[in-house]
């Protein structure tokens, strides 16, 4: 089963890239895509784990993750559009009227 490890590493790297991207990029859409990258990292991890144990539950889980990611994509983009309409910008920093 050691061949699962590289996939896990890759998943972790993807997750990390998404994480860092989410934290550093200002554009709402890119931030959102970064969460998608994080989800894909998880997906990869799940598949790697399935590989490790030799069963399909991980892949099944992965399919559900894809669905959820799609749902969130739909919802997320709708929200981004809404926000863009209000402010005319995709800069995340412009949404900080409430604080404290």
């Amino acid at each position: 089963m050691p061949y699962a490890v590289p996939f896990m590493m890759l998943g972790a790297v993807l997750f990390g890239i998404g994480l860092v991207g989410f934290l550093t990029r200002r554009n709402l859409i890119i931030m959102f895509l970064c969460t998608e990258v994080m989800f894909q990292g998880v997906l990869l991890n799940l598949i790697a784990m399935g590989l490790r144990h030799g069963n399909l539950q991980g892949q099944g889980f992965g399919l559900f993750v894809l669905v959820v990611a799609a749902v969130e994509a739909g919802l997320g983009l709708a929200i981004v559009v809404l926000l863009y309409r209000r402010r005319g910008t995709l800069d995340a920093e412009s949404w900080r009227t409430m604080r404290g």
Partner: protein, 536 residues
């Protein structure tokens, strides 16, 4: 008439989901009377679900097809549905007629999600249920107000929610990875399940993968609970949402989070390693402290209640850290059983928090004719709205934990469970300190709760009283207030059920730990379950 067991097992949730779908369709009608009847339809759906949920967990069925139906599920359903009715009442006036169908549909989805969290015996289902709870709430916030703040709140909540969900999911993937199964408990010892695995191979408990997975899942749950360090969004989101939705947000994700936490902790049999124990301990302390000190600084009523909701999560974490105890030593009383205490607290918290937000929605600022936002808007409100302010005061005092409000009993259960657990955890002094910090925090909390009451009662009235005209809102507020007092006088109704639910965890725990220990004497020696018991 025979139905598929899954349908009968999930009947209440199915009713909610079907009704929600129906609402989505009917909501597009142009006829006013149809639109006006939508809230009633929602209530009917909840009522039917409640009717279906009545009963006791059957003797045989515990877990099949990735579902487990036990007392905890029943408790979750009852509380969700009952509070759900109140949430619907309080939200009756919020959506515009055109959006009503979607609005209540989303609400029903969210509520259905809560009981699904309790039902789930599978990581996938658990994750999906948690998402089912959260996703509709993102939208609800946006629907509740056209204000720019609502949009900002939606955006923040969504982005941070997705971010946290990724962590949780990542955690689940690790948990799957250690055993190669997504089943949490399984229907029998023979079935491969995570819980069984951890009992069979105690070494796995301290495996880094388990640890990381567990902690990431807990982090995701902490987001739902609004516990430190994932509490950041709370104030902004509550602030942006309309008060009725904020009231709902105090209950729905939090209850789901509690249920999920109970399930996950049951998987590892409430056996915390020292590191996890101290982490949870620190989390509980930090959650109480951060919530209360931040609330202390607020001048906005909704933000104040939002941060107070953080603090309340801290109290519930105290109870959960205390754990269910062992069935044989624990009487099933909430005062002994941390799970019971947390469940009881959660129900009461749902009531009192919703009541407080309902009052904020009911009372309107005399200047802007908007529902109360800033604390100043409440100035002298007691003379303009005596009954509403009384209800608000009752709810706030209950949040404060002053008798004779049910919140006091909640505190009683939580802290008493913590004290009782002191001897059964490896760190008795830590639990006692937790109690001391907890009660100290309720004193800090009193300072800002008191400001709400003081603003209502001790200030001269600013102008003529205007209130949100909605009988349902009024009824919801009244029921919350009466419930808060009523459950103080007659807590047994609730605590008995919470006790049954908490008992499940305790019983399951002893069954597994002790049963397995007896079965396999050889492994029992090294078993952390046995070694976690204090040295005799």
């Amino acid at each position: 008439m025979s139905v598929h067991p899954m349908i009968s097992m999930l009947a209440p949730e199915l009713v909610l989901i079907v009704a929600a779908s129906l609402l989505l369709i009917v909501g597009h009608s142009r006829r006013a009377f149809v639109l006006d009847s939508l809230p009633a339809l929602t209530l009917i759906a909840l009522g039917v679900a409640l009717w279906l949920a009545i009963g006791r967990p059957g003797g045989g069925i515990r877990s099949t097809h990735s579902l487990q139906i036990d007392a905890l599920v029943y408790y979750a359903r009852w509380i969700t549905l009952c509070v759900g009715v109140l949430i619907v009442l309080v939200n009756r006036h919020v959506p515009a007629a055109r959006e009503r169908g979607e609005y209540f549909a989303l609400m029903l989805f969210s509520l259905a999600g809560i009981s699904l969290v309790a039902v789930a015996d599978d990581m996938i289902l658990l994750f999906l249920a948690l998402e089912l709870v959260s996703v509709p709430t993102y939208v609800l916030i946006g629907l509740s107000r056209t204000d720019v703040r609502a949009q900002e709140a939606t955006g923040k909540y969504f982005f941070l929610g997705a971010f946290a969900a990724a962590f949780m999911l990542y955690g689940f993937s690790f948990l799957y990875g250690i055993g190669g199964t997504t089943t949490l408990f399984g229907s029998s010892a023979a079935e491969r399940s995570l819980a069984q695995l951890l009992v069979d191979q105690p070494a796995l408990r301290s495996d880094p993968l388990t640890m990381v997975g567990l902690m990431l899942v807990l982090a995701g749950i902490a987001f739902k609970l609004a516990a430190v360090p994932l509490h950041y969004y709370v104030a902004d989101v509550y602030h942006g949402a309309a008060s009725p939705v904020a009231g709902m947000l105090g209950f729905v994700p939090k209850f789901a989070g509690i249920l999920a936490l109970v399930r996950v902790a049951s998987v590892i049999d409430w056996q915390w390693t020292p590191a996890t124990f101290w982490l949870l301990w620190a989390m509980a302390v930090a959650t109480m402290f951060v919530g209360n000190t931040l609330a202390l600084m607020q001048t906005n009523a909704k933000r104040m209640l939002a941060y107070s909701s953080v603090a309340h999560s801290g109290y519930m974490l105290v109870a959960l850290l205390a754990g269910p105890g062992l069935a044989s030593t624990a009487i099933d009383a909430p005062t002994r059983n941390g799970v019971t205490a947390a469940l009881f607290y959660m129900a009461i918290y749902g009531l009192m928090n919703l009541g407080a937000f309902a009052a904020l929605a009911y009372i309107r600022s005399p200047e802007s004719d908007e529902p109360v936002d800033d604390l100043e808007d409440l100035a002298g409100a007691s003379q303009r709205h005596p009954a509403a302010c009384l209800a608000l005061a009752v709810c706030v005092l209950s949040l404060m934990g002053i008798p004779p409000m049910a919140g006091f009993l909640g505190k009683l259960y939580v802290f008493s469970a913590a004290i009782a657990a002191a001897d059964s955890t490896p760190h008795p002094a830590a639990m006692i300190w937790l109690v001391v910090i907890g009660v100290g925090n309720s004193a800090i909390a009193a300072a800002y709760y008191l400001r709400i009451i003081a603003t209502c009662y001790l200030r001269p009235a600013l102008g003529p009283g205007v209130a949100t005209r909605c009988d349902a809102l009024r009824a919801g507020l009244a029921i919350c207030a009466i419930g808060v007092v009523g459950f103080f006088a007659f807590p047994n109704v609730l605590s008995r059920e919470a006790g049954r639910a908490g008992q499940v965890c305790a019983a399951a725990r002893s069954e597994r730990t002790i049963g397995q220990t007896a079965a396999r004497r050889t492994t029992a020696r090294e078993s952390p379950a046995a070694s976690a018991l204090p040295r005799e």
